[in-house]
Symmetry: C2
Subunit: 204 residues, 2 copies
């Protein structure tokens, strides 16, 4: 009776084909232009077929944003590989986060700016991939605290401050609000800000 299993396997295969197409449509054309019809065209299915595999657009975007988190988490892990000093870990994770955002602006948009993927999470449900990613920041910051390397001693305050700073930095850039700074200095200012923030955090 392997027939139902094969059917299920085929179903999952089509599902991930759609997901792949959605991700690509999204990365290439951004949130606004990645319509159901555009995704359907890529997989050569009818738009209605999409709804046999996903409840609605939010659910598709939620699934895509999970793929984004997988990638980000990997890059965060790669960034600290072989590094012992917790402060240096923090710095490298900061740059990894920034690079991810600037190299994948549409994906970052989906993960941290757009409302859509969050609407797919029910009231009392957990934002699993978000938590998983956040854990890596917590780990590093906790190490900094344990070794008395930073001036903040409350984990929650430290992680919220650091994350907010990094998110503000990249999202203002992505959303074109840094017009208040000279165009040609923005990149340098952003790096300098990261360094400055670490310097401020660090214990003497």
């Amino acid at each position: 009776m392997g027939i139902t299993e094969r059917k299920e396997r085929e179903r999952q295969e089509v599902r991930s084909l759609i997901l792949e197409a959605a991700q690509q449509a999204f990365i290439e054309d951004g949130y606004e232009k990645a319509s159901i019809r555009a995704i359907a065209d890529r997989v050569e299915y009818s738009p209605a077929t999409i709804y046999l595999y996903f409840k609605d657009k939010s659910e598709i975007f939620f699934a895509v944003h999970e793929l984004g988190f997988e990638k980000l988490i990997n890059q965060l892990l790669d960034a600290v590989e072989g590094i012992e000093n917790p402060i240096e870990k923090l710095r490298q994770q900061g740059y990894a986060y920034m690079n991810f955002a600037l190299e994948n602006p549409e994906m970052y948009d989906l993960m941290f700016i757009q409302n859509a993927p969050m609407e797919a999470i029910f009231e009392n449900e957990e934002w699993v991939c978000g938590h998983r990613c956040f854990e890596h920041l917590c780990d590093t910051v906790q190490q900094c605290i344990d070794n008395k390397l930073i001036k903040i001693s409350v984990l929650g305050v430290a992680t919220m401050s650091i994350w907010s700073f990094m998110h503000g930095l990249v999202s203002l850039k992505i959303r074109n609000r840094f017009k208040t700074f000279p165009q040609e200095h923005i990149q340098n200012l952003m790096s300098a800000s990261v360094e400055q923030m670490i310097a401020l955090l660090q214990n003497d």
Copy 2:
């Protein structure tokens, strides 16, 4: 020949009626639901009429976001009235910024998160209201630097860092990404983060 003047006056009146309606539609229903037809309904005009007064939706939203900046600038000014200490000014402006964002999330969204209003600015044009608002932060930070009250000495780095931190804080909150923190502690953590950041900035 006051007839053309009267015509012009009437034109401007209708224009600001539409603008008022757009602002309200926006504040009440948010970016997504504030459609041209919804705005037209509020002023009891045909949707096509809107286009006699605004080039497109971006231009409407740009005009609305300017109204938001007027309000924010006023609140920033009110917040520092009578305060001499630059650090205290910075703190109060920080809280004023945060309160504005949390009390007017849809407007803040438009001003600092949405792409639409920025698309109405031509390539080599200036983001006047943005610059005007940013000036107030520059002034305060420059005073802190002049009086050697903060650890950062480069104006650009300081303003970018502080603004990024504040924007990250309120935008992650607005866009529901602080699910990684216990719901009931978020508000307190946000205030604590602002205090912590000022403490880090301050010279001993």
